[in-house]
Amino acid sequence: MKRRVFLQSTGLFLAGAPYLLGQSNPARYRTALIGCGWWGKNILQEAAASRRCQITALCDVDANVLEIAADQVNTWSGDSPKTYRDHRELLEKEKPDIVIIATPDHWHALQTIDALKAGAHVFVEKPTGHTVNESRAMFKAARDSGRVVQVGLHRRIGPHHVSGMDFLRSGKVGDVGMVRLFAHSGGGRENPRPNSEPPNSMDWNQWCGPAPVRPFNGKLHPGGWRNFLDYANGTLGDWGVHWLDQVLWWTEEKYPKRIFCTGGRPISGTPVLNEKEQTTDAPDHQVATYEFEKFTCVWEHRKFAGNASEKHAIGAYFYGTKGVLHIGWRDGWTFYPSNDRDAQVREKSGLQEPDGHNLTLLWADFLNAIEQKRPAVASIDNAHRSSVLPLLGMISWRVGRSIEWDGDKETIINDPKANELLQRPYRSPWKYPEV
């Protein structure tokens, strides 16, 4: 651990002496990255810092992004990765041992399945799929391939999440009957932004891939696609999956029986999409209720008003008979005992900054899982079940009624219209993956 910290903090100095990294390093995984944006490179830096990976290939739909990423990789590790515009060509020519997938959600399924079929272990970002049956197909492909899949749910391994979960399981919170998950921020009305041509170096058609093609807009790229429902599932998909995953990590139950979700855009306004301009279209607030056998779980997010009236803006409250446990982000975890004569218990977070994640630990677990031939901590089994929850919330929100979920058969009971939304049509020539 100490060594890794040292390597990270001196990455630039090492860059001047890349030969150091090549020495006495027998097991090096040929590693490729698909999607060379901000988060993809956060993961790739872990691969470089681990000294157990040789970064051999990069893929992106933007030639400039590729060139910049290749230059950065060279400064981190001395590696000189080859660059590709199409992930299929990369897989065929490079035959990587490990593929990191950090594209927008609508690309996860096809790229994960292709990489697994090409024999690679896969680190893919959360949520697994954009629709439920994509996630099921990823799960099946992982099982068929026998390869390790780690999903970027780094809160499964973050130090204060692990200790918070230990505290919860120790019985000190008592019997938990309700969980409340939330992510609140400030915000207001959203103005449309004019559409424009994509960057000259970018293949926008390939970026859209199997999803519908929207006119290019600076709100969408880079990074803003999280709030466009063609490519992601808004805050519930982006943040919700992390906290819903904490609930499934804690409970012995495999899935909720009933889901109801409501929400809209009363503050940010009606979505705009025309030839000239557009806004995002994800809800500015949502409340989703997940009914389990032994407890109720509520998700809520709000992108207005902030959360000044409460102690925390983000995280999970576990309501037990002995008190309330809040597991948060940079604020670590806090236990508020029911009996106000008892002292509060706190634990600080131990996140990697500036982006507040736990990727070093998650990456180390991924490599160890490959070597020890065991499932990763955020395995496709766990992550598939967790990723399905926000996707089901979105289905309930779209159909405007509660849905009953059979998590064993992975179907919605007695609701053909809702079941149709477990998948969506792909844009030709892309084919929706088979479950």
Partner: protein, 418 residues
């Protein structure tokens, strides 16, 4: 190399020249040297010619002449003819402000609806106004362009550049200030800038479709001619002011296309620097537009994400690193790229130079004054004048140092001797 509006070489330091200066000042525009009418100052190099201000603070800190609240953003202050101008964002609108430069009395303001634009930061205005005579020019992140009567705030003309020209808005919006060159107003909009008639706002020339960079067009005199130096999403380049015809181009790819710092001319060369780990380079300007620039050196000692470095003699002073990391204030030799010193803990603040001293505003809001020296950064004065975060370089004009933070707290720190 830089355009120098003054009829004699500056700076003038010796007291023996005072009588000559007094005569010259009455005949020339010397008094403008105390103003700061545009981004990076009168000569667009981050240097003011102002002298005779304090470089030590009393124990109680320097006096604050006035304070104002201007809204969210990073727009710097410009000062001329006794007025100070800046901009900020609040409640769905941008506002351009005019204050009395010495008293802080609000003289006029103008608001228009605008997007907060808080992608990966708190948003708000990022560009700066430009004062030219009795006109003030302002370009918003989303293409709202205004020409005001600088005295009254009356709108002389205005345009919505994006809607009218279909120009592509770069990821964080336009942030370069409009640049006045003769009768032309030059904008960093489009692949290689555009020019309008300053008097009317009518198009003179436009460039192709592409992502603009975030710097302010820089007029540079080379030989007999003036060129305009720009950054766009993938290069630094130069164009002819009258036609927009490209003279040379230096490919410079930076993450997210963020080439923000103004390039710095040095002899027959140009210095450029960008953040996100990119680094800096000094290259020889090619003779023709199809020739490859010759790179003298290129390294990662100075990675400028926001505020451009200041060149004094053969040394550059500027910030290395990004807002999300541990940015340092650094000094390096322009001819070799070698680091002379580094001052940790500075963050992505900004500096200017006046009278052989650095006036530095750290990201934390600490104002420091230190001699310009390649030997090290040794402040003679330090004071916490604002809360963070300050990503905007301070501005010195007529003895006041104007500092702002992202929330829009603006303070005029009084550096006058008595």
């Amino acid at each position: 190399m830089l355009m120098n509006p003054y009829p004699f070489p500056l700076p003038v330091r010796s007291r023996t020249l005072i009588s000559i200066l007094t005569v010259l000042a009455s005949l020339t525009v010397f008094s403008r040297a105390d103003d700061w009418p545009q981004w990076r100052g009168p000569n667009r190099d981050g240097v003011s010619q102002e002298q005779g201000w304090i470089d030590q603070f009393p124990n109680s800190g320097p006096p604050i002449a006035w304070k104002a609240t201007v809204g969210l953003g990073f727009s710097s202050v410009v000062v001329g003819k006794g007025k100070a101008y800046t901009a900020g964002h609040a409640n769905g609108s941008d506002t351009v402000f005019c204050f009395d430069a010495l008293s802080g009395k609000e003289l006029w303001k103008h608001s228009y609806p605008s997007e907060l634009g808080d992608k990966f930061f708190e948003g708000g205005t990022t560009g700066s106004p430009t004062l030219a005579g009795d006109r003030l020019f302002w370009l918003s992140r989303w293409g709202d362009l205004y020409c005001y009567n600088a005295n009254s705030g009356e709108i002389i003309w205005s345009r919505q550049i994006v809607k009218e020209t279909q120009a592509r808005v770069p990821s964080w919006g336009f942030s370069g200030a409009p640049t006045l060159y003769k009768n032309l107003l030059i904008l960093n909009v489009g692949d290689a800038g555009m020019a309008l008639e300053a008097a009317t706002g009518k198009d003179v020339w436009k460039s192709g479709d592409g992502d603009a960079g975030y710097n302010t067009p820089l007029p540079v005199t080379r030989g007999e001619k003036v060129e305009l130096w720009f950054a766009n999403g993938e290069a630094y380049f130069s164009v002819e002011p009258e036609t927009g015809k490209e003279k040379w181009r230096f490919k410079w790819l930076t993450q997210y296309g963020v080439n923000a710092a103004d390039p710095i001319p040095y002899e027959d060369k140009a210095f450029v620097s960008s953040g996100y780990g990119k680094g800096a380079a000094l290259f020889k300007i090619p003779a023709t537009s199809d020739a490859e620039p010759e790179v003298i050196w290129k390294n990662r000692v100075l990675r400028t994400q926001l505020n451009g470095a200041v060149l004094v003699g053969k040394h550059l002073y500027g910030v290395d690193g990004d807002t999300t990391g541990r940015a340092e204030l650094k000094c390096l030799e322009i001819e070799t790229g070698k680091e002379a010193w580094a001052e940790p803990g500075f963050g992505t603040g900004g500096i200017i130079v006046a009278d052989g001293k650095i006036i530095a505003l750290a990201a934390s809001g600490e104002l420091m004054i230190a001699p310009v020296s390649p030997e090290g950064f040794k402040p003679t004065a330090r004071a916490q004048v604002l809360g963070g975060k300050c990503w905007t370089a301070p501005v010195l004009a007529n003895g006041l140092a104007y500092c702002r933070n992202s929330r829009g707290d603006l303070v005029a720190v009084d550096l006058r001797k008595n």
